[in-house]
Every structure is written in structure tokens, then in C-alpha cells.
Symmetry: C2
């Protein structure tokens, strides 16, 4: 028999998980503060049962996935009772502070943190889409309450959701990586959009500008938490980026054609290695 899953927070990630896990036969329960979200989830068979109260479903769940904002995770962990055979996880985008706090918490569940690398610029259940997870990277971040069973269980869930590469890593390594691969790109996209003070730019843009700035549409409540929680790593990466941008500026100022070509060649080679078809699982 499949594990019973409780998903707390049916936003774009939580409801996407619910949709994907329901479709492969898990009994999935859902909790969300928003009644309409629960109604929608029931109507579209994303969950089998749901409501506003965690306590109603907690006793019957083997696996609890917390898909709420970082600061809400700790509130939930501290205000409910978990049992040693329950596996609890969260999908927070920053991990160091969270894992350190959980390491010091007196809770009896098996806790392992995860990061599904498949966010969207849209929020809410209406944008949930299980296909967004297909082939995406899935990161597993252990705490001192993580068992082998917890890692095996989340690995199975990742595979059931059709994620691609599954990697286990420490919370500090995660946060260094995420500063570079997620928060820095978001910072650049925001700065790029804001640096434009014309109103008719839309008439002159191509797909490259749209692609580059899509993530400038950003959930401000969530992302200020992610940025602030990880600000040292982010600042370090912004500075590394600025040095490379300075290299480009220097080539332009000095008319250094060969230098500019060399930068372009290097970026092409490095980026080509990151194409999905080049990535072996």
C-alpha cells in the first residue's frame, strides 16, 4: 500500500506535488488556509480530502510535505505533535538557518529538507502543473533528524514525480549553490527591468529580453525572505558577477575585439555544457 501524504500549502509547488502524486496513486490530503483552493483541489481530484486544519489530517499521514513560506515552517513544527514514524519535509528555497534550527528542535519525526528546482513566476493552485517537474533537478538536504528511510522515501517521491537528477547535499552547500543559480539570476532580472526608464520598450523587445526578465515577476513576500536569509552568499555572488561584467566593459572601452571574442567563446562553451540534453542522469 502506498504511503499516505499530507501536503500543507497548496500553492504552485504544493498543488503541483499533490497533482503528480495523486496521479500515480498516492492518497494525498491537502491543507490550505484558503477555502477556495481546497474546493478547487477537490474538484480537480488533486487531493482526496482537504481542509483548513492540519490536526484533522496529521494523525493519518505517513509523509508530511510543508509547502509554505520559510518562516511558517517552524511555526508548524513547533505547534503540532509528530510521531517517530512520520517523515516530514519542506520545500523552502533556503536551508542553512532552517536546518540549524531544526537540528536544535525537540521534535520526534524523521525530518529531511528538499528543494525541487522547478519554481514558477506565478503563484497559486491555478498554475500548478506536474509536468514542470519532469527532468528537473531535485535536491535532498539532510538534518540531524534524517534517517535512511527518510532519504529513500523522498528519493522515491522524486522519481514518482519524474524529477531528473537527484542530489543529496549539505545545507550550506545548497545555499551557496542557490545564491548563484537562483537568487543571483533573480537579482539581475529585477535590476535589468528596473534600469529601463522608457515606457515603450515593449515595442522593441525580442524573446531574449522576455526570457531574461520573466523572473523579474517575483513573489515579493517569498523572495525577500529568500534573499535576506541568504544575503551573504548572494552578495558574494553579485560581486563575482560584477567582476565579469567589468571585463566586458573594459573590452568595450579599449576596443579590445579579441578580448571580447574570448569572453563570448568561453561563455558559449560553459553554457553549452548546461543544456538539458548534455546532462547525464
Amino acid at each position: 500500500m502506498k504511503d499516505t501524504i499530507l501536503i500543507v500549502g497548496l500553492g504552485v509547488i504544493g498543488a503541483g506535488f499533490a497533482q503528480g502524486l495523486s496521479s500515480v496513486g498516492y492518497p494525498v490530503y491537502g491543507v490550505d488556509l484558503d477555502k477556495k483552493t481546497i474546493e478547487y483541489a477537490l474538484e480537480h481530484k488533486i487531493i482526496v480530502k482537504g481542509g483548513q486544519d492540519i490536526e484533522e489530517f496529521l494523525p493519518i499521514a505517513n509523509i508530511i510535505i510543508l509547502c509554505v513560506y520559510p518562516q511558517a515552517i517552524l511555526n508548524i513544527l513547533q505547534s503540532h505533535q509528530f510521531s517517530p514514524n512520520q517523515i516530514v519535509t519542506d520545500v523552502s528555497g533556503v536551508k542553512s538557518n532552517l536546518v540549524e534550527t531544526i537540528n536544535n528542535l525537540n521534535i520526534s519525526c524523521q525530518y529531511v529538507s528538499i528543494h525541487p528546482m522547478a519554481g514558477r513566476e506565478k503563484k497559486g493552485i491555478l498554475y500548478a502543473d506536474k509536468t514542470r517537474f519532469y527532468d528537473a533537478n531535485f535536491l535532498i538536504i539532510p538534518t540531524n533528524k534524517t534517517t535512511n528511510l527518510a532519504i529513500e522515501t523522498l528519493t522515491k517521491i522524486a522519481k514518482d514525480l519524474k524529477f531528473g537528477r537527484i542530489t543529496t547535499m549539505s545545507s550550506w552547500h545548497h545555499d551557496e549553490m542557490i545564491a548563484k543559480t537562483s537568487q543571483l539570476p533573480h537579482a539581475l532580472a529585477v535590476a535589468l527591468v528596473l534600469s529601463d526608464d522608457d515606457n515603450d520598450t515593449v515595442n522593441y523587445i525580442g524573446d531574449s529580453y522576455r526570457d531574461l526578465t520573466r523572473i523579474a515577476m517575483i513573489n515579493h513576500d517569498l523572495w525577500q525572505e529568500l534573499f535576506m536569509e541568504n544575503k551573504n552568499n548572494l552578495l558574494k555572488n553579485i560581486e563575482k558577477f560584477e567582476k565579469k561584467l567589468d571585463n566586458i566593459k573594459d573590452c568595450l572601452k579599449q576596443g579590445d575585439v579579441e578580448g571580447l571574442k574570448a569572453l563570448f567563446k568561453a561563455s558559449t562553451t560553459k553554457r553549452e555544457m548546461m543544456n538539458k540534453e548534455k546532462v547525464t542522469k
Copy 2:
């Protein structure tokens, strides 16, 4: 009867034009230095006839579209004879110097420059795809050799290729815009990819990183020309960008949550206005 079109340079843009214009019934001839490209174009009915020599097709064409690198355009214009009833255009990504030079050239054709805003990170005829032009922006840049007929003709061609918004603008306005919407994003993507000195980053990236860095795969010969030709505008826009990035850094350093949220809200609002579905034609 439809105008006869000669396309010089069957790269990703030239062959895309040829494909699209052939499919709506124009007789399209093609010239390319690469014999295999011509063979491919004939085999796939992208052109009706083609070869290596411009002179072979020039006398029979009403419309000549130069899809070659910026510096090659002037060579072609100076080494061939055009007639007053021929309409000649190019798809170069920078315009100020080109238009100024053409204004001073002693050529008798009707010359108007265009910029189809639908580039690709891939080059060559194998990546030509007429559907890339659908709904894309199309810019028309007049010279002192541009007639009303030339503008009407290129407008019709843009519509036949199913481009979206068609805008006529001066060469200097074009180059200011393009520095901001195309060259700046390319510079940022290149700097972002180069600022990463790890080799296993690919294991931790999501779609946002891939979207943002796709254009770091860049044709170095073409783009060094585009950057260098427009370097003053580009440097100005890099500096505007850096100021906004500094704002983000300041919020992080000072722990200014409300300031950061305000930046995110502003970028979201500005970027949402640029969604394709929001753009009225």
C-alpha cells in the same frame, strides 16, 4: 504577380525569411558562400534557385535582402550595381553607422534598413524556422534613400512573414533601444555564466537559470561587431543597470526588507506590462 526576392546570406535569419516568403508564394532566390547551404535550401524548397554569385540573380530581383554580417553589407553595396526600381534592405542588428554610411553612398536603389527581432542563439540554415517570426517585433529604419514604396513593400513582407508589431524609427533611436533590450541582456548572460567557477553547477540549476543564460551561447564574430559598433549606448545602459543592482545590494546589506519588497513589486509591475498577451498590435 509577386515581387521576386533575392536573399543574400542563408543563415538562420536569411533562410528563415526565404522559408517564410516561399511558403506564401514569392519566388525567392538565394545566394550563399557555402555550397551545402544552397543545396539544402534547394532540397527543402526554401528557394527556387541559388548559387554563390550575386551577379547571377541581381538583375532579376525586385527586392534584395542582405542577411550578412554588418561589415559585409557595405562591401556588397559598393561592389555591385543596383537600379532605381530595386528595393534593398539588410537585417543588421546595429544601424547608426550603417545608415550614415549608406546616406553618403552613391547608389541608386531604394534602400531601407530593417531589424526582425527574432534572433536565435544557433546559427545556420539548419536552425531556420519561419515560425520564430510569428508575432515578433519588426523594426523599419529609413535612410535618405528610402521611398514610401520601400516602406510599404517591407511592411507587406513583414506581414506576410506574420510578424507582430511593425515600428518605423530612426537609426539612433534603434541603437539606443537595442543596446538596452538586446545587447545589455547578452552582456549580463555572458557575465553571469562566466562568474561561475564551479564545474558541477549543472546539477543544481532550474529553468530560470537556463532561460537567463541561453543567450550566453553567442556567435562571437557577429556579436563582437554588434557590441563594438554600439559600445557607447551599451556602456551607458550597463551603468544604468549597475545602479539598480546597487539598490538591491544596499537593501541586502542594510536588511531593508521593505525596500527590497518595493523593488520586487516595481519590477513585477513593469515586466507584466511586457507579456506578449498584454501587447496590443
